[in-house]
Each structure stands twice: as structure tokens, then as C-alpha cells.
């Protein structure tokens, strides 16, 4: 790829965005102002790019550039400011001083929708898995960790909130710590925000990874979308709901491992399986508190299918098996078996819970969110021990 071709490609993408965005959304760009800004930027670029190249801040592979220079700057460098000035004013015109909803409101609601309290639950498995394999913080780890910290959660919970709107209206538990009721006017802008914030990161991860990473990313992305989009709505298919939900948290770790080129030996698979069962248990028990509102709204879940008592017991069994599985993995993984105990103790009082009293399990669910931070702390200690033992 030569610099000329590369620049033309990106410039074409920017031009397409700059001309199609205003047409699609009826935004009015002041093209005369774009022309003035472009003229100024070209002059500034020629002057300062020449200075920067003269100071040897960066250089270009001679065989890959056209060889046409303006001052010291290769002519291709002008594509950067031109792309910026042709695309960004269109985006700005679309976003600035909007009413119903304003961009500020959209961003605030997007952040609430993405569940900041849960951001770490996906970024940590990714970063830990990758760091323990590569043993260094490289750019891919940083890019991936940023992706699994924010855009991934925005996709997962944002898509969910858009398509859950109707059932959310009937559920008083949403709108605070554990969710957000999203006004319909925000639905389309939020889906755009999800798309535009996820695609660039996913492209980078796909380009950086091999075939196994592609499989992991595909499964992960499918689980995020299929959980709540109309037509699939795996969250309303009992058992699949718990499997998909657990995939949301385990798949970032698997993506991290595949990007790092990890070898999947028996010990690693046992640990991942334990993590997966833990995630299923968490989802299933979380669904118990919603049995009554879900049934009223005609929504199926693992808990509406099996009832409060069976689902609670299933969760207890899954946590127990998850803990037992780690006992068979190499040291220090068996230490993690102890982490299952507080989960079992937390939920055990609802061993005989009936459907009518299922909303009371919200008390255990609230403690569960706190417990996750505690177990995250202990898992981190175990991972540090693993790091030291295998150093």
C-alpha cells in the first residue's frame, strides 16, 4: 500500500461522511466556511509539517510516497487536514445545538445506559487474560481494554435498553443503579452511537488477530447483539438467556487469550468453564427477582420457565460446580474455589423461595453486586500469585 493510495482511501471515506451525513439527516453545513478553513489548514500544514519534518520528528519510507513535496511535506500529508475539514463540520452540524434530544442528553443517557458500575466486569477479564499471556502492556491490550471498558458495554446494555423499552416501563427497578429507562427519542441516536463507537475498535481487533481471535470476536459480538435484538432476543429464551449473558463476560477473556496467542490447555479450559458457570448462575439468579414483572409483561426467562425455587437452586448448583471445577485446575486456581462460598451463603436463604416472594431476592442481588467487587479483588490476588509462580 502506497501513501498515495492510503490517503485517497481515507480521504474518500471522510468525503463520503461529509457529504452523506448532511444529506441523510438534513444537517446544513456552511461549505463557504469549510472552504476558508480548508485554505487556512493547507497553509498551516505546509508550514508546520515542513518544520516538523525538518526537525526529524518523523519520516516516510521513500519508496512508498509519491515523491511530490510541498516544502518538505509529502503532498499526501495534506489529505489529513482536508479529510478533517470535510467530514467534521458535517458531524458538528448534526450534533451541535440539537433539541429533542440534545447531544448532551444523549451522552449522559448513553453513559447511564452503559452501566458504569459494570464496565470493569468486561474490561478486567480481557486485560487480565491478555496480560497474563503476553506479560506486557502493549498497544493492543490498551486498545482492547478501552473497547471492553466502554464501547462494548454501551453496545450490550444500550441495544438492550432500546429494545427493552416496553418491559422497562413496567419495571420500577430500572432507571437507577441497575438500568435506565430510555426515552424513545433517544433510541435511534443511541443505536448510531453504539455502531460508530464499536465498529472502529472491532476492525482494529480483527486486523490485529488471527482466525481464532476472529471466531472469539464473532461469538462475542453475536452474543451482544442477539441477546436483545428483535427476532433473536435470546434473553427471552430460557436457558439461552443465561448462556448468552455469561458469554458477555467470558468472551472478552477468550478474545484476550486468542489475541495474545495463548494455548488452551486443560487447566485454562477448566478455569474458563468455571467462569462461564459462575456467569450463568449470576444471570439465572438475577432473573428471579423479575419473575412477576416479566410474567406480567409476557416475557420469558430462565426464571419464569423454571420458577423462583428451581432457578435459585440451579444457580446455587452452578456456583458450587464452578467452585469445584477450579479444584481440578493447576495451582493456584483451586484457591478460587473459596470465592464460590460467599455467593452460596448470600443466596442460600432463598433456597425455598416461592414465586410470589421472588421480588425479595433483590436484597441478595444488591449484595451480589458488592460481592463481585470483593471476589474481583481475590481473583486479582490469585492472578498475581499465578504471575509470580509462572514468572
Amino acid at each position: 500500500m502506497t501513501y498515495t493510495l492510503l490517503s485517497l482511501g481515507f480521504l474518500a471515506a471522510a468525503t463520503a461522511a461529509g457529504t452523506l451525513i448532511p444529506r441523510a439527516f438534513g444537517a446544513r453545513v456552511q461549505w463557504a466556511a469549510v472552504a476558508i478553513a480548508a485554505a487556512a489548514l493547507v497553509v498551516l500544514t505546509v508550514v508546520f509539517d515542513s518544520i516538523m519534518i525538518g526537525l526529524d520528528l518523523f519520516s516516510y519510507a521513500p519508496s512508498l510516497i509519491s515523491g511530490i513535496h510541498v516544502g518538505l511535506a509529502p503532498v499526501e500529508d495534506l489529505a489529513y487536514p482536508l479529510a478533517a475539514v470535510v467530514a467534521l463540520p458535517a458531524l458538528w452540524t448534526l450534533l451541535a445545538r440539537r433539541k429533542d434530544p440534545s447531544t448532551g442528553l444523549l451522552l449522559r443517557r448513553a453513559i447511564v445506559s452503559s452501566r458504569p458500575i459494570s464496565w470493569i466486569n468486561t474490561a478486567f477479564p480481557f486485560a487480565a487474560a491478555m496480560l497474563l499471556t503476553t506479560r506486557e502492556v502493549d498497544w493492543l491490550l490498551v486498545v482492547g481494554a478501552i473497547y471492553y471498558l466502554v464501547p462494548y458495554n454501551l453496545a450490550m446494555y444500550g441495544i438492550n435498553d432500546v429494545f427493552d423499552y416496553e418491559s422497562d416501563v413496567n419495571n420500577p427497578r430500572k432507571g437507577g443503579l441497575e438500568g435506565a429507562l430510555l426515552p424513545p427519542a433517544l433510541h435511534r441516536p443511541l443505536l448510531w452511537l453504539v455502531l460508530l463507537s464499536n465498529v472502529p475498535f472491532l476492525l482494529v481487533l480483527v486486523v490485529a488477530g488471527g482466525p481464532w481471535a476472529w471466531v472469539a470476536i464473532a461469538v462475542s459480538t453475536f452474543a451482544v447483539i442477539a441477546y436483545s435484538v428483535p427476532g433473536l432476543r435470546l434473553k427471552e429464551r430460557p436457558v439461552w438467556d443465561s448462556i448468552t449473558s455469561s458469554t458477555h463476560f467470558v468472551s472478552p477473556a477468550v478474545v484476550g487469550l486468542t489475541l495474545a496467542g495463548s494455548s488452551f490447555d486443560a487447566g485454562l479450559i477448566l478455569v474458563l468453564a468455571a467462569f462461564f458457570l459462575w456467569g450463568m448462575a449470576a444471570h439465572a439468579f438475577g432473573a428471579v427477582q423479575d419473575i412477576i414483572p416479566d410474567r406480567n409483561a409476557g416475557i420469558a426467562s430462565i426464571a419464569t420457565a423454571f420458577g423462583a425455587r428451581v432457578t435459585t437452586r440451579l444457580s446455587l448448583a452452578l456456583w458450587l460446580v464452578a467452585g469445584l471445577l477450579t479444584l481440578f485446575a493447576p495451582w493456584p486456581a483451586p484457591l478460587a474455589a473459596a470465592i464460590a462460598i460467599p455467593y452460596l451463603v448470600n443466596v442460600a436463604p432463598w433456597f425455598r423461595v416461592e414465586d410470589a416472594r421472588s421480588p425479595e431476592t433483590n436484597r441478595a442481588w444488591r449484595r451480589f453486586i458488592g460481592l463481585n467487587y470483593l471476589s474481583g479483588f481475590f481473583v486479582t490476588l490469585i492472578l498475581i500469585l499465578f504471575w509470580r509462580l509462572t514468572a
Binding site: 492510503l6 456552511q30 478553513a37 526529524d56 520528528l57 467534521l88 458531524l91 451522552l107 460508530l196
Partner: protein, 111 residues
């Protein structure tokens, strides 16, 4: 200390753009949320461009003594994303200021 010169210049440039922005309420001071999204989108797009150039072997880091020498990734110095943020800010300040001037002159001609 000379290693900080380039980064300091970029940060000073960003500071100057923000001063213009603040004085004339052009970008962040016109709509902070929209400006944040535009800056994020612009910077990410240009970073992807850089990454593609680096992967194609086009861009090479220089050996200048005024750069920190800290690299975020192979051939990607710490200063590059800061420069891209500056470029986006400069572009948007120029555009919003030009649009404002054009509007004002139009208003003056048609009272």
C-alpha cells in the same frame, strides 16, 4: 528536558485553540457534548489512518531530540494522538469561526 519541547508545543497549541474557543464560544463552549463526540470521532479516525500507515511501513518515527521518545506502539510516539487532537481542534475552531464571520457579514448586509 529538551525531550519535552514538542509535547509542550502541542499542549500550548491546544491551550491556544481552547482560549479562542472559550473567548468566542465556538466549539466546546458552544456545545460541550457535541464537541466531545466530534473530537473523539476525528481523533479516532486519524489514529486509524496513522495505524494503517504504520502497518503499511509508510510512517517512520524520527530521531528528534525534542520528542520524548516514548512510544505507544511501534512507530507511534506519545505525541501523535496529542497532535491529532490539536489538528481536530484547529480544524473545528477555524470552521466555526469562519461560519460565524460569514454569518455576521451577511447579517450586516441585510439589516
Amino acid at each position: 528536558m529538551t525531550g519535552l519541547i514538542y509535547l509542550a508545543c502541542l499542549l500550548a497549541g491546544i491551550g491556544c485553540m481552547l482560549l479562542l474557543d472559550w473567548r468566542f464560544r465556538l466549539f466546546f463552549w458552544a456545545d460541550a457534548a457535541a464537541a466531545t463526540l466530534v473530537t473523539l470521532a476525528g481523533t479516532s479516525f486519524l489514529l486509524l489512518w496513522d495505524a494503517a500507515g504504520i502497518l503499511s511501513g509508510i510512517f517512520l518515527r524520527g530521531a528528534s531530540s525534542i520528542a520524548t521518545g516514548i512510544v505507544l506502539a511501534p512507530e507511534l510516539p506519545l505525541e501523535e494522538p496529542v497532535f491529532l487532537v490539536f489538528l481536530v481542534l484547529c480544524t473545528m475552531v477555524l470552521y466555526t469561526a469562519s461560519a460565524r464571520l460569514l454569518q455576521n457579514s451577511k447579517r450586516r448586509r441585510t439589516p
